[in-house]
Symmetry: C2
Subunit: 329 residues, 2 copies
DNA sequence: TCCGTTTGTGTAATCGTGTACACAATCATG
DNA sequence: CATGATTGTGTACACGATTACACAAACGGA
């Protein structure tokens, strides 16, 4: 383990040039003799030299770091998108710094810390921080907000999701199957995303003269889906549960089957949201309001690139959801 | 959106002091009058000043960045540990840079890129990069390797996992239940981790005069577990499948049930490895060789702290696995 | 041959902090 | 009151790269 990394000045001495020339050897379009460049690159390889990205960032005013503000890493509903995005960033030589909000008491403090690293971009997936806080803290870095909070703010790009039509399709089918009494199992009580999703289904029901009869609040985990479904089914006679995400839906289905002997879709219809891979597993086969993850991340990447090139353009991209049919509804 | 961030020199002018004093106001233990400090902090808040971490890192030779080399974010078996570790890092004001190997063609290139950011620590969770590559690339930053590759290298700290005893317990139970013909479903063919895990079970079988009769190779996903189990059960008459991780075990269980009408544990015993939360879900209830994730991450954090303080100490920590009993074996 | 252009390289400033050193002012102590 | 320790602040340099500018050499066209 060589304790210290070699610097460009030292390499310059070794190669018999100045440190400016070293820098040029590593910059694709710069005036430098090809013989000199080859020699430098060879000496560099020999001594394990690579330009210090921290120093370069300081000079450049460009860090090539991207802050990803997420609720958690583990939750499958976000994980698939995170994975895709990280992949796309890496392909562009951008490095992601992950900020996990769910388990961190002082989220704003955490975001401030990341902002001191002069990140080039910020992508906010989490609904636990407000758009305004993100804008304030990253005031030099126009954030990309991936919540559905319907704010129009010049300092933010955002991606909106429209699931109204798909929710209508799903409700149509369930009602046709004879179900009449609906419950909604929310993720987080205060989340904008959750309120909007609930509205899609509430509207679809209203159009058919129905309403959400019972309600419960979980926290997007299997356990909360299980527990809340048990309570819900004990206190009201619903025959359909719309869940805030797929993982809770799986929990609710298990609760119905195990604790009350009710099977899907005959005794009770259960619907998830997100369209995670696990929802399609044979043992789950969930009916869910799903979003095309690839299209979603494409949109994020497009906003990043537009921002990178400083191109003006629409700040907002809207995506629509689809129904994915399984055996639970 | 204020386009530019204010610098310490500008703030110095505003506060009527020198930039050195600004710096001191933000360093906890430095000689500065408390009145001056308060005034500076107040002016700083007013103008949204915070010291530039990039510049500080350059000066300090300490970036407070940690590279986490993982296979993927989405895979639940790693995700829980990643989540825990990120949480612990954030509490120490360390920021994680995630490197996803699974979907990136040139993993070494990716690691070299991260190394140019002068990360303070490297934690390698992935079994897709060799220990030697990690050491070479991060030659100034003693990496912490979380594979089980049994190399003793002064330039590496590592965490080893011992599951021999737990594997023995599990085999004991399955054999007592009357099962005799075992298959092993590996994760990745070339992975050290996988070879070691397989050996635990093979040894436990050998002690009872049994052996692994059939073998298949997946890639740690549900789909590969499902597919490989179908093929396996068609070509050999096994009554127990040990899987390389929990997700594949769930896939294998679904395949047995759906494609061949075999139920666990009566017709076939299925065992997972990792002990992810999902394995304990009511619909899965998997018997699995599980690792205490908290203890595991505690060990990682301990190595990081020891490394931070430059304390010499054992480079290696060994953890033992436990059997978690479910209804699948 | 002469002059304008291109090419390759070095010098020095810059990015924004942290900190060693110097120095004045204050304080404690006999 | 003299002296030494302590406290608070400014000056100047270092961290490791990039880059504007300057300049010499090479080159091409008349």
């Amino acid at each position: 383990m060589n304790k210290r990394r070699i610097t460009s000045k030292e390499l310059a001495k070794l190669a018999g040039v100045s440190s400016a020339t070293i820098s040029r050897a590593f910059s694709p379009d710069s005036r430098i003799g090809s013989a000199t460049r080859d020699r430098i690159l060879s000496v560099a390889r020999e001594h394990g030299y690579q330009p210090n990205a921290i120093a370069r960032s300081l000079n450049n005013q460009r860090s090539r770091l991207v802050a990803l503000v997420v609720n958690a890493i583990g939750n499958p509903c976000e994980a698939e998108e995170q994975q895709l995005l990280v992949h796309r960033l890496q392909a562009r030589q951008l490095l992601p710094i992950i900020l996990c909000c769910a388990d961190h008491d002082d989220r704003l403090q955490l975001m401030r810390l990341a902002s001191t690293y002069q990140v080039d971009h910020v992508v906010v997936f989490s609904d636990m921080v407000s758009m305004q806080d993100a804008v304030d803290i990253f005031h030099t870095t126009k954030p990309i907000i991936v919540s559905f909070e319907p704010l129009d703010n010049e300092n933010v790009s955002n991606i909106r999701i429209d699931g109204a039509a798909a929710a209508d399709e799903i409700i149509e089918k369930i009602v046709n199957d004879g179900k009449k009494r609906f419950a909604y199992l929310s993720g987080t009580k205060s989340s904008w995303i959750d309120k909007l999703r609930r509205k899609w289904f509430a509207d679809a029901l209203a159009r058919r003269g129905l309403a959400i009869e019972a309600e419960a609040f979980g926290d997007y985990t299997y356990d909360s889906g299980f527990k809340e479904a048990v309570l819900l089914l004990h206190r009201s006679k619903v025959d359909a549960i719309i869940c805030g995400n797929d993982v809770m839906a799986i929990g609710a289905r298990d609760a119905a089957r195990r604790m009350l002997g009710k099977n899907t879709p005959d005794d009770i219809a259960i619907v998830g949201q997100d369209g995670i891979a696990m929802a399609a597993w044979d043992c789950n086969d969930l009916t869910t309001l799903s979003l095309d993850h690839v299209a979603f991340i494409d949109a994020v990447v497009e906003l990043i690139e537009r921002h990178d090139a400083d191109l003006p353009g629409p700040h907002s991209i809207t995506l629509t959801c689809n129904a994915r049919w399984g055996s639970t509804a």
